[in-house]
């Protein structure tokens, strides 16, 4: 069994064993109206980004050998503010070799992972020429800036004889040959299906005064500059192809192949996919900037799932358009990988996403919907707001995971957005919280992706913890304000490379609050939030008298107290709701700074219950069961579960008796 290598929220894979038929839950109430987004600066003729790079690539796919022969012309515009003579490039496909850093980390995280030759992938630059400066093939030097592993060849640098001045351009002409692996993580083939991502030499990003060009790691994704792509792919006729960008030309060739041309503008990556089995389903969406063509490339066995993909995508497009701003491209492609090719599923690329489903997926298990929503969300958080996925993974995965919980709640109900089967329900936000509380304290969100304790910690912290942190942030600044902050962040930083500070500062600016104390603990720290109602009691005030009068409701005086204890190290202000048996309710506020607090009352009523966070907004609290205490036992839940356990035991027993 292949280890889980894809950075898709692990909860997506947690519910696949549940069987049933159930009705689809109606969508929840529509999202509240926000002020309209700032006037759009998008016009068809205006570049959306700085367009630092312009790639022209021609590639030929050998479907038998699973190889690519290609030439690439990269025009790089030096906007760094200084002359550049050193350039760093990614060669991601070289990660699929047994001694690469990527594979070492895979084995480290999954000791039962076995190397097989079919997983081998590679990319070899056969010629590198700089126009006007000659052939520099021999000057290429592999570097390993992260871990010094000499066997890792996912990054090379080359020094030019003459620097490129600021404002100037340099043109690289590169010939390369690539071997695609059987798809293990995002890229590769499975039978006739090809998912060709991270397949060409890609220049790094000049960022904060230096080249930001990390090696490819088990837990990392990608970081590149915006630009344009003109790509021609030659492959057998009859193959259905999808790609970033739009198709601008198609030509059949006498040798039985066809050449398809694609153009993409203001994107930072280019992926393409090919499979003769694809069934194409087309639809459209009309957004704030006009029509968007939707293209589904479905496996024949999954065609029945196409309406589910479409419904989720249409709903997500609509909500993103309303909440943050319009989707600026004219097309979005959704790729449905085949069985055995799920390593390519659940991934995002500019203008193209990969989903994941099986031939049988009950309607009450919303896994296909979640994948489509999440991966489309990346068009905004990563695709347009192009944060550094190596160093700030939470800024795309986590913000996206948070928005995913909001979108899924709006479309499918807060408590039923993942599961609604056989009377069992599960909401996306609650699942995120559950995932977060499994590993709440190992790594801060701000840690670089390749430095996390484990793959599980990476997934938990960047996705689930971030989503839960932002849900808790709602309790401080309000849901509307946070959405406005995200809208401002998107509109201000789209088509740029913002940082952690850009995002946090934007939130503080829009909310008008100093949130440093919260960010220090939740974002930069590993503090755990856990409050409990430790004690709850009522005593008669006349307890000391020898013959106290009979207790009379409403007349007997009681002294009550409630002790709330901060178990974790995360200091967070909380509300405590105390109820009395005369119907009275008191709400207390506690700043949480001390370790505990005692609330005292003298009333002609007994205390009935005390509950921390009665509005259930502090999602970061790792234990909801100790957030409340009642004076008397309520056994309804226990009886119900015990009855279920009784039935399960009896049923198991009669199954075992089949052997008798």
């Amino acid at each position: 069994m292949q280890p889980r290598l894809r950075a898709v929220p692990p909860k997506v894979f947690a519910l696949v064993s549940v069987l049933a038929a159930a009705a689809l839950v109606a969508a929840a109430a529509p999202a509240p109206e926000l002020p309209p987004p700032a006037a759009s600066t998008f016009t068809p003729d205006t570049p959306l980004s700085e367009r630092v790079v312009a790639y022209q690539i021609e590639a030929r796919l050998d479907t038998e050998k699973k190889t690519l022969e290609a030439t690439e012309t990269l025009t790089y515009r030096n906007r760094t503010g200084r002359p550049l003579d050193l350039f760093a490039f990614h060669l991601y496909l070289n990660a699929f070799q047994p001694q690469s850093t990527f594979m070492r980390e895979v084995r480290q995280g999954s000791p039962d992972f076995e190397w097989k030759e079919k997983y081998r992938g590679s990319i070899e630059v056969t010629r590198l020429e700089v126009v006007g400066q000659g052939d520099l093939t021999g000057k290429m030097e592999f570097i390993q800036p992260d871990d010094g592993n000499p066997d890792d060849r996912t990054v090379f640098q080359v020094r030019l004889p003459r620097p490129v001045p600021h404002g100037g351009e340099v043109q690289f002409k590169i010939a390369f040959r690539a071997q695609l692996p059987e798809v293990l993580a995002r890229t590769g083939y499975k039978r006739d299906f090809f998912m060709v991502g991270q397949w060409f030499p890609k220049v790094g990003v000049w960022w904060r005064g230096a080249w930001n060009c990390h090696q490819f790691h088990r837990n990392t994704e990608f970081f590149a500059d915006f630009g344009t792509y003109d790509v021609k792919v030659t492959l057998p006729q009859g193959t259905v192809v999808g790609a970033t960008g739009v198709e601008v030309g198609r030509q059949p060739n006498p040798d039985g192949t066809q050449t398809l041309a694609f153009r993409a503008e203001d994107v930072h990556d280019f992926v393409w996919t090919a499979d003769p089995s694809f069934r194409v389903v087309e639809d459209s969406f009309t957004g704030g900037l006009g029509p968007v063509k939707i293209r589904l490339l479905m496996q024949p066995g999954h065609l029945a799932q196409a309406p589910r993909y479409l419904q989720a995508l249409q709903g997500t497009l609509r909500l993103y358009d309303r909440w943050f701003g319009p989707y600026p491209y004219t097309q979005i492609t959704v790729v449905d990988p085949p069985h055995g090719g799920f390593g390519a599923g659940g991934m995002e690329y500019p203008m193209l996403i990969t989903a994941s489903t099986t031939w049988w997926m009950p309607a009450g298990l919303l896994l296909p919907e979640i994948v489509v929503e999440h991966e489309f969300g990346h068009q905004y958080w990563y695709g347009m707001v192009a944060t550094n996925e190596f160093e700030d993974a939470w800024l795309d995965e986590g913000i996206n995971a948070y928005v995913e919980t909001k979108v899924m709640a709006a479309l499918y109900g807060e408590e039923t957005s993942v599961l609604n089967l056989w009377g069992m329900t599960a909401g996306d936000a609650r699942l995120s919280r559950l995932q977060y509380r499994a590993v709440p304290d190992t790594d801060p969100m701000t840690r670089s992706a390749y430095e996390f304790m484990s793959g599980g910690a990476y997934g938990t912290v960047t996705y689930a913890k971030t989503a839960t942190v932002l849900r808790t942030l709602e309790s401080l600044i309000g849901e509307e304000t946070l959405r406005r902050a995200l809208q401002t962040y998107f509109q201000r930083y789209r088509f740029t490379h913002p940082t952690e500070e850009d995002f946090l500062r934007t939130v503080e600016e829009v909310s008008g609050q100093n949130l440093g104390w919260f960010f220090d603990q939740a974002v930069r720290g590993t503090h755990v939030l856990d409050y409990q109602v430790r004690t709850l009691r009522s005593d008669r005030a006349d307890w000391h008298e020898e013959n106290p009068p009979e207790e009379k409701k409403g007349e007997t005086l009681f002294r009550s107290f409630v002790v709330v204890h901060r178990k974790g190290d995360f200091i967070f202000p909380v509300e405590v709701e105390v109820k009395f048996d005369n119907g009275e309710t008191v709400r207390e506020h506690w700043d949480g700074r001390d370790r505990w607090v005692r609330f005292r009352y003298e009333k002609k009523a007994r205390v009935v219950s005390a509950e921390i966070d009665p509005d259930h907004k502090v999602w970061l609290d790792t234990n909801l069961f100790n957030n409340s205490r009642t004076r008397e036992s309520h056994r309804r839940a226990t009886r119900k579960l015990a009855q279920y356990w009784l039935f399960l035991t009896q049923f198991l027993a009669q199954w075992l008796a089949w052997l008798a």
Binding site: T630, S633, T638, K640, F647, A653, A660
Partner: protein, 297 residues
């Protein structure tokens, strides 16, 4: 004998009804043995839920995330709870193995047995059935090996075959065949038990051999007999699940309990119904010798 022999299945149901005390005893022991496991679960869950308002998420509906978080509480040990359920299930299995002799004797004679007669029959056949159980486990080994092989082959096909769904269909077809094989083995050993009781047989290997020949020669009608009754069990389960989802309020404990017990009773009933029908099927082929009559005066 005619294929299918519908009379045997109906007659078997009538026999179970006439001797329903057998079924109620089996059900009663099943319930009694499961109660300690449920009690343990109650104490475990109660330590967390009884004084917490968070339990409401499990009362009004069933929030799976709340249940998973409950299982992660230090007061609740899912492993221990499962082990407890398994132990009590195993005890029921031992009881059922012990009681089978008495059950088959009650059906063979189609008479109410006194407690002494019943337990005498149970005790008399228990060790013979233990020996049969050992043979059954041996017979299941090749089935297990075949299941493992099937899983490996279908996995490889799913991964490497040109046609994406080939592995799936191979696995589905293979498990269907394995199920038929399991039913065949179960029928064989059921008949061995029936024969052992009917003939008072002590030599289990001889009983097994004869039962094997009998099963092989009449597999069609026996399989159809077994399958029909099994379908009743599954249909009942599906109906109960539908009723539970559609009509039973989430907060309900009593209705839910009654429905669950009805399902357990139904499944136990179908099992003893199979035993009764097998007994009658055997008697039709090998009628018991009439008792010797007293010489006339």
């Amino acid at each position: 004998m005619s294929r299918g022999e519908p009379g045997v299945v109906v007659a078997g149901a009538r026999l179970v009804w006439r001797r329903q005390r057998v079924l109620w005893w089996v059900y009663g022991v099943n319930l009694l043995l499961a109660l300690p496991a449920a009690l343990r679960a109650s104490m475990s869950f109660g330590g967390v839920l009884n004084s917490s308002l968070a339990g409401e998420r499990l009362v009004k509906g069933f929030d799976l995330t709340a249940f998973i978080e409950l299982l992660a509480q230090p007061e609740v040990s899912p492993a221990q709870l499962l082990m407890g359920s398994f132990v009590f299930s195993f005890l029921f299995f031992v009881f059922f193995l012990f009681a089978t002799g008495g059950v088959l004797e009650a059906y063979r004679r189609d008479q109410s047995l006194g407690a002494g007669e019943f337990f005498a029959a149970c005790g008399g056949f228990f060790w013979r059935f233990v020996r049969l159980l050992l043979f059954l486990l041996i017979a299941l080994v090749p089935v297990g090996i075949l299941a493992g092989l099937l899983s490996r082959v279908s996995g490889r096909l799913a991964s490497d075959a040109p046609r994406e769904m080939l592995g799936f269909w191979v696995e589905l077809g293979g498990f269907l065949l394995l199920w038929v094989l399991l039913v065949a083995i179960r029928l064989w050993f059921d008949l061995a038990q029936v024969r052992a009781v009917a003939e008072g047989e002590r030599a289990m290997r001889r009983t097994l051999w004869r039962a094997l020949k009998l099963t092989a020669a009449n597999f069609g009608s026996l399989f159809w007999l077994y399958l029909r009754i099994t379908l009743v069990a599954w249909a009942g389960l599906a109906l109960a699940a539908w009723v539970w989802v559609k009509f039973v309020p989430a907060e309900s404990v009593g209705l839910s309990f009654l429905l669950g017990q009805a399902v357990v009773l139904l499944w136990l009933a179908t099992r003893v119904w199979q035993r009764a029908s097998e007994t009658l099927w055997y008697q039709r082929r090998f009628p018991p010798a009439p008792p010797a009559s007293a010489p006339s005066a």
